[in-house]
Amino acid sequence: MRKEGKKSALHYIFVVFCWIYAAFSLYPLIWMLFYSFKTNQEIFVTNPFGFPWPLHYENYITAWTKYDVPLYFLNSLLVSIGTVAITIVCALLFSYATSRMVWKMKTFTRLFLGLGMFIPVQAIMIPVVKVVQKFNLMGTRWSLVFPYVAINLAFACMVYYGFFKGIPIELEEAACMDGATIYQTFFRIIEPLVRPATVTLVIYIFLNAWNEFILANVVVGSIPALKTLPLGVLFFQGEFTTDWGGMGATMVIASFPAILVYSIFSEQVENAMTIGGAVKG
């Protein structure tokens, strides 16, 4: 109470700072939009930051006609959704078992899977493609989904582990008393408690899968029916020159679903039930 006056002045400065930083974070979005209406000359020399005028909307026409945007879009969507669903389910179960259940080797198993976070895709690319071929997955969307799941698993498990650790053991104790099976306990009581983490992870994994380029190019780059959206930029990058405006247009098109996914799911974090509520209830 005594600090009230002083605090509000500081507080005011701080709030202004928060808003400036936010503007600074939003700027690239606007910049990208402008960029997608410019020619190379405007981008690099005459008008790198200002409003694009005249509007070179033909960039969008080029982007739309150079490749089958709706098909690539659909492929990206299917692959990303598949990756998110499988990763979330696997990571949830795995992390629950390694964080809360009692068994030998659980720390080792957890750290073992953590290994997956450290390897760059470029290094394991050839062996991964060979595995995909062994399982006869080439030519299907699974050829992307499984490697993506494997790449994202380690990260997801680590995040879930942290969240599971914070849940009081009393919840399971109570459920056990009530005669619920371990499966019921997990799906009805524990899983809803980590929803904020799940939602955050859905966003991450979706973005990772949605933007992935290197592996997609090698695995489905030669199959027109399966190509994903990031591969579209190839149509703009020459050995020497790049059509940056057209690439900007492609990226604007590709960013919309990502922004949509974030807007929808981040609202869910807000609405998720809290552990505090669960303990009380």
């Binding site: 000359q41 659909l74 690319m125 020497f240």
Partner: protein, 453 residues
Amino acid sequence: MKKRILSTLMCATVAVTSLIGCGSTETQTTTDAPAATEAPAAAETETEEKAADTTADASGDKVTLSIYTQYADDDTKVPYDYAVEQLKEAYPNVELNLIVQAQDDGQTLKTLAATGQLPDIYQASTDLINTFRESNQIMVLNDVAKSTGFLDKLYDANKDLAYAEDGNIYAFPFSGQEYVLWYYNKALFEENGLSVPETYDDLLNCIEVFKSKGITPLALFGQEGWNTAAAYDVVATRYAAGGIKALDEGTAKVTDEGYVKAAKKLEELVAAGLFQEDATTTNYDQASEKFLSGEAAMFINGQWYIEDATKALGENVDWMFYPAEDAASYEAGKAAFSGGGSASGFAVNPDSANAELAAEVAEFITEKYCEAKVMYRHNPLVALNTGKEPDSEYPAMMKKLSDTLPSVTSTTKFTWGLTNSTFNDGIQSESQGLVSGQFTADEFIEDMNDIME
């Protein structure tokens, strides 16, 4: 299910009627079969079927050949589109599945090769040809080159481009001898009362004048190693005609007097401000736009840039002979150019089900690329004698170049034509260090010497 039976039937028919086409359709059905059966389980039924559908259609009476090549700017799109059009008439049963080349230092193609997915036809650089030769993933094209008349059409000057060190043909090159040109903006030089520099002292004077006017003397796209290597090479060839080619082949050493002098000279020019300060983080488009919009007075690029430069600057652009130490070496140096041909071209995957056909098609496409480059890109420096005329007159710069070429006695290499990949990587990054002005000539010489040992 109906569709699958239909497609199998179709394949059978093809196998009987067309001896050429059967291989590909057979392999296609076998690889597609698991995809189609798995589809319902995959909960992606609809689209999976669509995928299977298109391949079934394609296997009607057609052979689909996959081709991995560049397809982005006019210089790559125009020839490709022209070739595809011509192919339709000459080989109506062949369809191309274009896989656009990624600008990733061969990462994609090498991975495809390592996992047995090499496309039927692919654009191979010297480095790839050498690598794939070791693993037998590149077809020997000697017979096809003879039977299709490729060898007859090949200009004598380009004979050495077609043959690898072991005397075999592994790729059909479409580019001929190419040259590094030192472009300059005539108008900017005139406005500032400068004449074309002949010696390095002239050049230093130009640098000073342009800098005082806020004009970048020479816009380099130093983020790309080949451009910095070319910048070193245009200086090095003034002292030792072999340039980086001689270093690559091991006939000269970087510690030789000429190369040391060249490094010191480049260091001096960089210190004087020949290039923009952030040259090493400038990409091609940034540098090119700078030059074309008159913010930079000079530019170093290949002769393929003539078309674009003329379009943007018209009469105001020209190329000059590289400046040299003194007037005598300037004159002598007019016969020594940086740049040269490379063996890069269309190669064929020997494990392809239609390897023979693919080889023929690769040769056909190569011819058409040359034609399109002559006719629509006004670039007569192609590998083959096409007998075609351009759709309009050659630009002045190209005429000047063709007039000069007969007297050229020595060329070097572009980095993509170098054979020693360790040297290639070394010269690209070390020359970049030199250009940045933060690595000394002594460091350059020392590091290059280490790399070569």
